[in-house]
Amino acid sequence: MGIENRVALITGSASGIGKKTAYRMAQNGAKVVINDIVPEKVEETVREFQREGLSAIGQVADITKKADVEKMVDETIATFGGLDILVNNAGMERAGALRNLTEADWDITLNVNLKGTFLCSQAAHNHMVGQNRGRIVNIASRAWLGGPGQAPYSSAKAGVVGLTRVLALELGRKGVTANCIAPGLIHTPLWDELPDKNKANLLSKQPTGKLGDVDDIANAVMFFSDDESGFITGQVLYVCGGRSLYSG
């Protein structure tokens, strides 16, 4: 029942959606692994969690490197004795018109968002399959539907959706589910930095007229991560205030 005593590895969890998700999971009794590529951010987040009596360890790893990922998963299992939940949250975006995008823009966006999800899932699934239980939750984006200036990001997130369905089909018989959350506009520090004109334009396209909160994504992750969600796999849930319902 629930996620109590489950071991959850959340990539990119030293800030934003990942941090809030890890926090909520830890509050609900999970043992969480904080991951980021920046050591100071990981240390600070782990300290913050531990000060509140939450069970957390840190793992500094570049998820685009297979060796880093394997080490992170191995050390998680060595420390906590298992791995039950993987949340592939780490992501980044390089935006720009097609003619202006560089090969480096494409590579880094695909590597972090898609290759990282693949490597982490591959490293985690062996253990999950062995224990006949596991939950993989991938954070995609509503942007996988396509948007001007988002060629690498949309492509990477579309890849995450396809990968999720493959994971669901390959791992379903082993008690491992794989689902995807596609966030829309969420209130993060990045939003606060946008010019007011851009904010108004984006909000005007929101059916709800509102931004989402990092808690909204954390709630959806918790739902898919729960032991009782075993009959739900291969799905994409948009948490976007209805923005996925129309284009424009």
Binding site: N28, L145, R165, A168, L169, G172, R173, G175, T177, G184, Q206, P207, T208, G209, K210, G212, D213, D216, N219, A220, M222, F223, D226, E228, S229, G230, F231, I232, T233, G234, Q235, L237, Y238, V239, C240, G241, G242, S244, L245, Y246
Partner: protein, 249 residues
Amino acid sequence: MEVVKDRISLVAGACDEVGRAIALHLAQNGAVIVACGSDFVELSKLVNQIRESGGSAEARQADPASSADVKRLVRDVIGQYGRIDVLVNNANAQCGKLVCEASDEDWEKGIRCNLTPTFYFCREVIPGMQTQKHGRVVNISSIDYIGWPGQSTYSAAKSALFGLTRSLALETARDGVTVNCVAKGDIATSQMSAEQAEKIGSTLPVKRIGLPQDVARAVGFFASDASNYTTGQMLFVCGGKSAHCSMSI
């Protein structure tokens, strides 16, 4: 996580096993259940079960396919409780015929039993939710909406729920109301033998058939405050079966 405590929850189509499971799940999480359907005996059994577990529930008999019945029922419920917070539309009648063999009556019955009640209930309940600036509507569809030989009217009705859900979501988005859809996959019933259930389950990616409680849990998520920012969505509770299909958006 599923915050539905004290929410007045109208479960339309509470007589079948999925409807019962939904009502029980919401009641276990503290909701006040108004169980609606055409079979008062079944409704009463459900209500007794909820009350014996310490929950709060009452039965309301009505024909979900009757506009007048639905209007009266909703008026009475609001008269008693002052509001409806959660509406679950689970009216469901499996009806299988090949398209070319379906009569006018078959078609009309398929739509009347599987689609019309959702329209009637939404039309009566949603204005109150808009006024109170809060509401959760969860429509129960089926993976059969993607089309299946011999399921013509049923598939058509369940497909229509997809469009209805999205339209309603857009119409109510600024009023604090969310409208979502749960598409159930292969779900075990008490009429099914263990062998049948196992055979069906073996064809699914998760290698087990679904239970009414699996559907109920997804409904619980959409009925709660955990899903504030999710509207107009369809979530398949199908053991991964939908991953084989090309579907929608």
